[in-house]
């Protein structure tokens, strides 16, 4: 039986209510943390657990916590990033909708560990119904004495606020999120100073993803070492994977890190294979921003070994033959998918969502979209592929926040692995624009 750290009780009827959640052992971690542990001891357990940021960046959470500045007389804040807007990623949505109390329990433990008395959950505004679920759960936890003044008689106070966003992908970037939370446009800030020193209202702030914060209840109950014993190498614990696209069983799955990618795609317990009568063509493994891989590279490393679901294995070989685990947004493509059309679709997304602050991103995402549009619509020029590679290179690494990289990688990787498809579109403008047209020349299908 695989370890389930987050979703063990997710199918229990009524688990979204305080009483049922409590009956399943909920809030025992808050009791243990607040009554028997010091904040430093909790930070130590999280460090031992080795949890890496589940929003996509993969930065060790305990280390992020230990960077938090602690000047006297200045409030500190914990902000939960629940903006989840990356195409292919829908696990935080699933977690908050079904297990609101797990997130709230994690927020209480984390806020206590960080010395925050006011914490925020910034949820994308589209999920207004989830916001109501969270607000209801917060009211229940407050009524039971787990939130508010003098929690469990400990003298510790915590106010938890759910903040709705306004619909902008960029607000998932931590400093843009803080700007948005301050009532401004979601323009990312220059770093340094990092939020740990000057974050929300210029005060020391930690920003963590929903899934990362949700792990803390289990870590407090079972210990950091027990968490680190699950998973593989530096990819400790479990990960929620959002699986979508041409598979038999799309959905959200909690896996132990280290499972072979092939098993995850084909085993009945997870995706259940590519839809009947079709073959596996390509994979986006960590949400739309990470490099796309053709099927054979998605399943195996350059040395022929099986690729595993872990931060290290998925990035093996750098971007030449690897990708990133990112947010765990698995999008699977079968042979009916046109890589050019999909790349254009993603490019449109990044153009639309660029905040416009840095010229390489503001202008470059628009250029890439235009060039991809004309290739896809049968008006491509011979030099367009090289032009795209050139523009992508000029965006990557030249912007304040990683949205520039996120826009450049899908384009650069699609050309790296599927250049012949782009060339075919340019060479066969009339055929390529027919509905459902897909280049079937050099494809290696699995």
């Amino acid at each position: 039986m695989a370890t389930k750290i987050l979703t063990e009780h997710i199918n229990v009827p009524g688990i979204e209510t305080f009483d049922v959640y409590r009956k399943q052992g909920g809030y025992t971690a808050v009791e243990k943390a607040i009554k028997t542990m010091t904040p430093e001891a909790i930070v130590e357990e999280v460090k031992k657990a080795g949890v890496r940021g589940r929003g996509g960046a993969g930065f060790p959470m305990g280390m992020k916590w230990s960077f938090l500045a602690k000047p006297e007389g200045v409030p500190r804040y914990l902000v939960c990033n629940a903006d989840e807007s990356e195409p292919g990623t829908f696990k935080d949505h699933y977690l908050m909708k079904n297990l609101p109390h797990l997130l709230i329990e994690g927020m209480i433990i984390s806020s206590f560990a960080l010395g925050a008395n006011k914490s925020f959950i910034y949820v994308r505004g589209e999920l207004m119904y989830v916001i109501h679920i969270l607000e209801k759960a917060i009211a229940e936890a407050t009524a039971k004495g787990f939130l508010g003044k003098n929690i469990l008689g400990s003298g510790y106070d915590l106010e938890l606020i759910v903040q709705p966003g306004g619909g902008a992908y960029i607000c998932g970037e931590e400093t843009a999120l803080l700007e948005s939370l301050e009532g401004k446009r979601g323009n990312p800030r220059n770093k340094p100073p990092f939020p740990a020193v000057k974050g929300l209202y210029q005060s020391p702030t930690v920003v963590n993803n929903v899934e990362s914060i949700a792990t803390t209840a289990w870590i407090v109950n079972n210990g950091g070492d027990a968490y680190a014993a699950v998973g593989i190498g530096r990819s400790t614990g479990t990960k929620l994977i959002s699986a979508s696209g041409h598979i038999n069983k799309p959905g959200v799955y909690e896996i132990e890190l280290g499972v072979p990618v092939e098993d995850f795609i084909y085993a009945d317990e997870w995706c259940g294979g590519i839809r009947p009568g079709h073959k596996f063509k390509a994979l986006v493994a960590g949400g739309s921003s990470v490099p796309i891989l053709p099927a054979h590279l998605a399943l195996t490393l350059a040395n022929g070994e099986k690729r595993l679901m872990s931060y290290e294995s998925l990035s093996d070989g750098g971007f030449a033959t690897g990708t990133m685990l990112g947010s765990g947004g698995f999008i699977l493509f079968d042979e009916t998918s046109c890589i050019v059309r999909n790349t254009w679709n993603f490019s449109r997304f990044y153009h639309h969502e660029s905040c416009g602050q840095c010229s390489p991103c503001r202008e470059g995402t628009g250029w890439m979209e235009k060039v991809l549009h004309r290739i896809e619509h049968g008006h491509g020029h011979q030099q367009d592929i090289d032009l795209l590679v050139d523009v992508a290179k000029k965006i990557e690494g030249n912007t304040i926040c990683p949205l520039g990289d996120a826009a450049a990688w899908p384009v650069a990787s699609a050309i790296r692995h599927f250049r012949d498809e782009f060339q075919w579109h340019i060479d066969h403008p009339t055929e390529a624009t027919q509905p459902g047209a897909v280049y079937r020349g050099e494809m290696a299908l699995v």
């Binding site: 948005s180 947004g329 493509f333």
Partner: protein, 166 residues
């Protein structure tokens, strides 16, 4: 920004107390943080984010009207023009398109007789496209107010439109 009327906008008494409750959440002097929640409240009441409503929110938060306009125009959820009774926001991003979204949305447009960004003549439906609704495994998907409609097909779209047309 078009202005449909020049009537002054004020919140209903219930929304005034809700707004005050929201403003009180934030630390002293940081009341601007209430801007996004208040704009949601405004749109919920008025159906759209009207200039008069934004001016009202600015007064309520003691900030300049331009600070409200620049924020409202940055985020996609605020309708800066009047919209129909039902705003259908469909996800046009990769995973939904992989599941046949493009065909379903073409059918939706044909059925309503409007293109993205337009409102039906009877004022019942407005069509907007959005970038990813975080329901990729259940695509194609669209949202009407707080409700998600998932696994859409042409037939399902017809049923939903029939239901909302009653």
């Amino acid at each position: 920004m078009t202005t449909e009327t020049n009537k002054a906008v004020t919140f209903t008494p219930e929304r005034v107390s809700k707004a005050q409750e929201i403003i009180a959440r934030y630390p002293e002097g940081k009341q601007k943080s209430a801007l996004l929640p208040l704009l949601h409240l405004l749109q919920e009441q008025e159906g759209w984010t009207s200039p008069e409503g934004m001016d009202y929110v600015a007064r309520m938060l003691d900030i300049q009207p331009i600070e409200v306009y620049e924020v409202a125009s940055f985020y996609t959820m605020y309708h800066l023009n009047p919209v129909g009774k039902h705003v259908i926001e469909y996800c046009r991003t990769g995973p939904c398109c992989l599941m046949g979204g493009e065909d379903v949305y073409a059918h939706l447009k044909q059925r309503l007789g409007i293109d993205t960004g337009q409102t039906t003549v009877d004022g019942r439906f407005t069509l907007k496209e959005v970038e990813c609704l975080a329901a990729c495994g259940m695509g194609p998907v669209f949202q009407i107010r707080e409700k998600y409609y998932m696994h859409l097909t042409n037939e399902r779209v017809d049923e939903i439109i029939d239901e909302l047309s009653k």
